[in-house]
């Protein structure tokens, strides 16, 4: 059997979605952004809405997201993506508008825009990548940095007395009556990727049905910023990020999911040490 | 013809709306007009004033410091604006609440007991139209039919049933204005 015998349409098991461009991504090996981009692009392709989608990019590692999605894209000032999306959607109600932001962008400098867009119940999809660190600027503390976690600006670990608590913005916005669907996912295993994609699909379907704002957090690793290998980072994320940022749906169809404790915050969880 | 007017009193006395009705009447009579209010926290219950200019020519500045006519409805406004009337100009005041009468000798001064009259007649809501009537008696710069149109334009439609009462108040004002000091 030759290569030519193998490369045939009937043998095709996977192909890159046409909603991603051929541009080479600048993300670090092991980073979750590439996978998150891919599943969003696949959902757009599967729903047949490439010509109706407007993406909003943040400032942060995914500042250049517009180069990778083959849909019309706007680049926002730091933190302002939900404001852009609000107007883009209200002026173009038949288009699909999504924001893509990191933790510094969405939960620090852009907190007001995030909360008010959610509170107004804008009919948009918000994707939130939470890796507990400012990746692009070189690994400084983010609002979601864990207690005790080291970063460039918390070299001795995040100290509650000095830096306050990790901000669980997703639980916070879930309490707002304007949000329809709020979920937390990850993309570090094939099973997690499938679940995250299902959640993103639901978020876009909600927009299609004019059901209001859907918010998908993806807990991700930043192995470069965390100074670990990709595999170590994924293990560390499971052991340390997930207790504070538990994976699963938080609010579905406008109702908090039974058993979800919105106020739960583990601050004394001892962080594991990577050897 | 250019008439530069200041109307000044307490917020709630209808100072701004009197100016607006006068200005709108001017517009209806094809005059050039401007209406420049004081604004801000002072509007909320404190003193309020508005400069109204009605002219046959293009109005240069809507912001002015010398007036042909000052219509004064409280003591603070009298203290503030008496000196701003041009020599030979006109000052109209309501004696209600006035403790120190105007003293200028180089201007015409008229008094109009509009507050008292409006209370007596039970038409306190259109007190400002009584005052306007007094002014129009002395300076008929806008004809009555245009005042009617001005009222139509300035009042919301749901209040158009009150236009006859407003016009009646103007007539009352024309009857009660009297000289205080004339040249």
């Amino acid at each position: 059997m030759t290569t030519a015998d193998i490369i045939k349409p009937e043998n095709l098991v996977y192909t890159k979605t046409k909603v991603l461009t051929d541009a080479v991504m600048h993300y670090c090996p092991g980073c979750g952004h590439g996978t998150a981009h891919r599943i969003i692009a696949e959902v757009i392709e599967e729903m047949g809405i490439q010509d109706k989608t407007i993406g909003i990019a943040p400032v942060g590692c995914s500042v250049l997201a517009y180069n990778y999605f083959d849909v019309d894209f706007q680049e926002a000032a730091h933190g302002r993506a939900p404001a852009l999306a609000t107007a883009a959607k209200r002026l173009n109600p038949d288009r699909f508008v999504f924001t893509y932001q990191g933790d510094g962008d969405l939960a620090a400098i852009g907190t007001a825009e995030t909360i008010h867009a959610c509170n107004r119940g804008e009919n948009i999809t918000m994707i939130f990548i939470n890796n507990g660190i400012y990746g692009m600027t070189g690994g400084q503390m983010a609002p979601t940095t864990l207690v005790g976690m080291k970063s460039a600006t918390t070299p001795y670990g995040r100290n509650v007395a000095l830096n306050g608590y990790p901000l669980r913005i997703t639980e916070l916005i879930a309490t707002l009556p304007g949000t329809r669907f709020v979920t937390r996912q990850s993309v570090h295993t094939p099973a997690a990727v499938r679940k995250a994609k299902t959640a993103i699909r639901k978020a876009f379907e909600n927009q299609k049905d004019n059901k209001g704002l859907s918010f998908v957090e993806i807990v991700s690793s930043c192995n470069s910023g965390w100074k670990m290998t990709p595999v170590q980072a994924n293990h560390w994320m499971e052991e340390n990020m997930f207790p504070n940022y538990p994976i699963g749906d938080i609010k579905v169809d406008g109702k908090i999911v039974e058993g979800v404790d919105i106020n739960r915050l583990v601050v004394d969880h001892p962080l594991t040490v990577v050897k | 013809m250019t008439e530069e007017i200041i109307i000044a009193g307490f917020g709630g006395q209808g100072v701004l709306s009197m100016g607006k009705i006068l200005a709108y009447s001017g517009v209806m009579q094809d005059k050039e007009v401007s209406w420049m209010p004081s604004y801000g926290p002072e509007m909320r219950g404190g003193t309020a004033n508005v400069s109204v200019i009605i002219s046959d020519e293009r109005i240069s500045s809507p912001i002015i410091n010398q007036f042909d006519t000052a219509i004064i409805l409280n003591q603070q406004s009298l203290d503030k604006f008496e000196s701003s009337v041009k020599p030979g100009g006109l000052l109209i005041f309501d004696p209600n609440g006035i403790t120190h009468n105007p003293t200028r000798k180089d201007i015409n001064i008229y008094e109009i007991a509009a507050t008292a009259k409006a209370q007596e007649m039970g038409i306190s809501k259109v007190f400002n139209m009584v005052v306007l009537g007094g002014f129009l008696k002395l300076k008929p710069i806008v004809a009555p039919e245009f005042i009617h149109k001005g009222l139509e334009k300035s009042l919301p439609e749901r209040h158009h049933n009150l236009i006859p009462q407003n016009e009646e108040a103007i007539e009352v004002g024309k009857g009660i204005i009297k000289p205080f000091h004339t040249l």
């Binding site: 010509d51 404001a83 852009l84 609000t86 002026l91 008010h116 | 200005a23 240069s60 912001i63």
Partner: protein
Amino acid sequence: MARELKLMKGNEAIARAMIASGTDGYFGYPITPQSEVMETLMLEKPWETTGMTVLQAESEMASINMVYGGAATGKKVATSSSSPGISLMQEGLTYLAGAEIPCLVVNVMRGGPGLGTIQPSQSDYFQSVKGGGHGDYQLYTLAPASVQEMYDFVFDAWDIAFKYRNPVLILSDGAIGQCMEKLYTRDYVPRWTEEERRKNAPWGTWGKPADRNHNIITSLELDSGRQEIFNLKLQAKYAEMKEKEVRYEALNCEDADYIIVAYGSSSRISMKAMQMAREKGLKVGLFRLITLFPFPTKQLNEVSKKCKGILTVEMSAGQMVEDVRLATECRVKVEHFGRFGGIIPTPTEVLEALENKIIK
């Protein structure tokens, strides 16, 4: 709606002109002395007539970024505020200029610095024409001096904004905003259809059809060489505006010995001072700037060749005066007269300043 004669405030005129000029969206935040703009829009409910969107944002930062998000889809989107709010918008304005997004921003100026006063002022000249935000950019800046111009300039703003893909600033102040004057309304310009939007804003992020590449609205360029080329392109655009889009009004300047240079409400006060001067036999003219950027450099230079002195009148500590001195190459004496902190100079004061600083 056809041409009608109305009496209205400058702020209300801005709002009504937005509806009448086919504006697609307005996003704002309350601040004195311009809150009547949004109040009028909310009262008029244009979403039920022209389909215009109106939204009260959570801050001026949000409203300018809503302008960005809406206008980047090729729609006519506007906001308005007053000085402190405009300061908050400076980040958004430099991004809008950098991403070449046509839009309209109205500043109804009040006195500063800081929270300052709510009374009229003209102390945001530097902020408006010398940058405001970071980077080399310009806003096409119109200075209305009457309620009619408040109305008309909104229509003009859309033409310029889309012709040059540049934000337009209407720089007014509390005096013009709060003043009521006569106004002739215009025939309604319908909002653009989907086809017109695609034709007039082919660069817009309105959804990528199969037959074009994806449109990207961004002000980011990490390659310095390409960023320099982009800066040169912006500069060429501004040079074209200077060549083609300068607006001013010269009154009695032909025979004038002395000229007052002013814009906005100061020019109205100065017009009265000019009339008073002429009554006294003084040959005084008024040069009123309508565009602050582009500045009428050539035209002022010409005027300065024939007069003996120039007084600039601004409700500021003296900002525009610098550009007047540069434009006239110090050929004649140029002095500034201004009141600030919310104090409006009187025509008498202006005439006195002219006599004391220039004529004497």
